[in-house]
């Protein structure tokens, strides 16, 4: 089979054994790779109700047909597990040399099972697998751990690692690579930590099987130049993703003060222009043609690589309008290996809960030094407050009581990315319906809402747009996998991706084939969630309650007096379910699952929850 290696490597950490397993071409074509492989493996192999931080959980590393191939921005790897934060399926994609090495070693996925008796790491060099001691880097941050591993394996080796956040099982700990790259927001790093697995190193030397190798190489090299030119022409990477901050501020969609506010007159102090001026170097992933990692020097003198989500959540949402301090918080998150979005949201919720009398504490919005102390305490799980903050905003709210869950800014336990949906119903829907929780990478439709329809509307078109984008992002970018920026930011045509895929595999897929695969993968992600929460209802797909509260509406500005309306949101949710072919609880129907080739999975799901 061209385009896939046809093999998965299964590693038992408890027994320190491994096994190379073949998979079929039917499996490859049904699940494509990346997220598709990960969710299928986890759905089939995990028993519902297991402890996500127990040895029964599995940590998956998966790539796909585009991995290791010369083409624009194709250096992405998916990391996945059952989430300790949400209880559902969790994944993230990150740029890493492991993408290339894994394929060259002859695998499309790694499955880590069980738990190491002592902290360690696993090294894979083609067919050789070694279980190594990690005592020297256990308790160290990701930068030091990666440096230590570079010393042993070289800087271009494929390396994934965790920091103290993952070791201490902070529920929003991530997996890190190549200094600035991170993935797995809903606690995938904590799952590695629970297995005493500090790092994974891969080095491969084999040929990657391609159907039309010469064609792919010529096309890929040309297109890398093309995307680089598109980026240069548009000047996108001059400010990178943080250009969005000024725009969100203008649109009253910026998270400010635990999303109580939607803009701030001080936002300019941390916007894309300021970051561009402070930038000392840029970083990119393997095969990157539009480097988005703008790096500046933080308050303590570290190099800190920032993007919009970091600045939005660690800056604006905490009312810290000092870019150097934001960079410091960002560096800490990167080094401890925790998600910047959730870290910012958790601290903002803590300050808000103190403000509203739900708990007692000494943290106020705008206090950068105290924010750093609290972040450190959370990542090291120091004391009662550290442990509280390490568990995420939903669990915090349930401890605080006083109806504080209403303003814990999360869906299904995962904190909202940096888009304030106070008056952006379609984006609120996108966050609400995500089977992993509120994640910007699944669907982002604010520009559609403003450009092509009524901002405050709840029309079926918005639900359709959310589904369309989910299909593209999951079917193509999460499964192949590849970075979406060439498409979303500089207009590189989507058709390029099926063209690459066909040259790599020798198949003849159209975009619609990827969308169907995306629907299949998405349905299984939701089935995974439904199996874990058999009594789920449509409230699981709602955004935070505070968005519906008239008292929370902006007092002035361009959306003064506006808020989401619960009846209309529910109607919009109904449109989404209808388009997706899900029932009125948000569970994929048997007919839908059968149409996607998921009859066996529907039978399984019906053992746990109602499937209509």
């Amino acid at each position: 089979m061209n385009g896939w290696t046809g093999h998965i490597l299964r590693i038992d950490l408890t027994k320190k054994t491994f096994k190379k397993e073949a998979y079929t071409e039917e499996f490859a074509q049904k699940w494509v790779g990346g997220r598709g492989f990960a969710v299928k493996i986890l759905y089939d192999e995990l028993k519902p109700g297991i402890d996500a931080l127990g040895p029964e959980n599995k940590f998956i590393v998966a790539v796909g047909p585009l991995a290791g191939v010369t083409a624009p921005n194709t250096g992405k790897t998916v990391v996945a597990a059952k989430s300790p934060l949400t209880g559902g399926y969790a994944d993230g994609n990150l740029g890493s040399h492991i993408t290339i090495h894994l394929r060259k070693a002859g695998y499309d996925a790694l499955i880590f099972e069980g738990k190491l008796a002592q902290p360690g790491y696993v090294s894979i060099e083609d067919d050789k697998v070694s279980f190594c001691d990690a005592q020297e880097i256990w308790g160290k941050g990701t930068f030091e751990a990666q440096e230590w591993l570079y010393g042993k394996y070289g800087k271009t080796a494929g390396i994934l690692s965790i920091g103290q956040g993952g070791e201490n099982k902070v529920l929003y700990a991530m997996v890190r690579s190549m200094e600035g790259r991170a993935g797995g927001r809903p606690g995938v790093g904590a799952v590695m930590g629970s297995k005493n697995l500090k790092a994974v190193v891969v080095k491969g030397t084999k040929e990657i099987p391609l159907a039309r190798a010469a064609e792919m190489k010529a096309r890929g090299v040309g297109d890398m130049k093309k995307v680089a030119e598109l980026d240069k022409k548009s000047a996108w990477s001059k400010t990178g993703t943080n250009a969005v901050l000024a725009w969100c501020n203008e649109m009253a969609a910026l998270p400010v003060r635990n999303m109580r506010k939607t803009s701030s007159p001080e936002a300019y102090k941390i916007d894309g222009e300021r970051l561009r001026d402070a930038c000392v170097k840029t970083y990119g992933c393997p095969n990157c043609t539009m480097r988005c990692g703008l790096t500046m020097i933080d308050k303590e003198g570290h190099e800190s690589e920032l993007d919009y989500e970091n600045v939005g959540m660690l800056g604006a949402d905490l009312e810290i309008f000092d870019l150097q301090q934001v960079a410091s918080l960002n560096y800490m998150c990167d080094d401890f290996g925790v998600d910047t979005i959730s870290a910012g949201a958790v601290l903002a919720f803590y300050a808000d809960a103190i403000d509203h009398g739900a708990t007692k504490g000494d943290f106020k919005f705008g206090d950068a030094e105290r924010a750093k102390e609290l972040l450190r305490m959370a990542c090291l799980r120091q004391g009662e407050v550290g442990n509280l903050l390490a568990d995420g905003s939903l669990r915090m709210a349930r401890k605080f009581g006083h109806d504080s869950e209403a303003y814990a800014m999360q869906c299904k336990g995962l904190e909202l990315s940096a888009y304030n949906c106070k008056y952006v119903p379609g984006q609120a829907l996108s966050f609400g319906v995500g089977p992993m929780g509120a994640h910007h990478k699944e669907a982002w439709i604010i520009t559609y809402e403003l450009k092509q329809t009524e901002r405050g509307g709840y029309g079926r078109d918005k639900a359709q747009k959310v589904v369309d984008i989910q299909r593209i992002r999951t079917g193509l970018f999460e499964a192949l996998p590849a970075c979406r920026f060439p498409w979303v930011e500089v207009g590189f045509e989507l058709q390029n991706y099926p063209d690459y895929f066909n040259a790599i595999t020798g198949l003849d897929w159209k975009l619609e084939d990827f969308y169907k695969a995306g629907d299949r993968i998405w349905a299984l992600m939701k089935a995974f969630y439904a199996r874990e929460f058999p009594k789920l209802d449509r409230k699981h797909d709602y955004p935070p309650r505070v968005y519906f509260d008239p008292a929370n509406a902006d007092k002035d500005g361009i959306i003064a007096g506006k808020h989401l309306e619960v009846d209309k949101y529910d109607q919009l949710l109904g449109h989404f379910y209808d388009i997706r072919g899900w029932d009125d609880r948000g569970v994929p129907t048997r007919k839908t699952m059968e149409s996607l080739g998921l009859s066996k999975e529907a039978d399984d799901l019906a053992k746990y929850t109602k499937v209509t």
Partner: protein, 74 residues
């Protein structure tokens, strides 16, 4: 009449300003403003008071228009 234009992100280095007043003929539509800015053929999102402008929408003296590229999320 005068329209205030606020550019976002990559448009700032591209057009050489962040925010400024522009003298425009009256009447002036969003499409007219795009032409004046040299944005024809460049995908963009024009908003006024947080709402998207359609090409035929008329602008008024003193309006502040935000012009951004089509972002699609981080």
């Amino acid at each position: 009449m005068t329209v205030r234009v606020r550019l976002i992100g990559p448009f700032i280095p591209r057009f050489g300003f962040s925010e400024k007043d522009l003298e425009v003929p009256s009447p002036c539509t969003a499409a007219d403003l795009q032409l004046l800015l040299g944005l024809q053929g460049v995908e963009n999102l024009m908003t006024l008071q947080g709402r998207g402008l359609k090409p035929q929408d008329a602008l008024s003296d003193g309006d502040r228009v935000v012009v951004a590229p089509i972002f699609s999320g981080g």
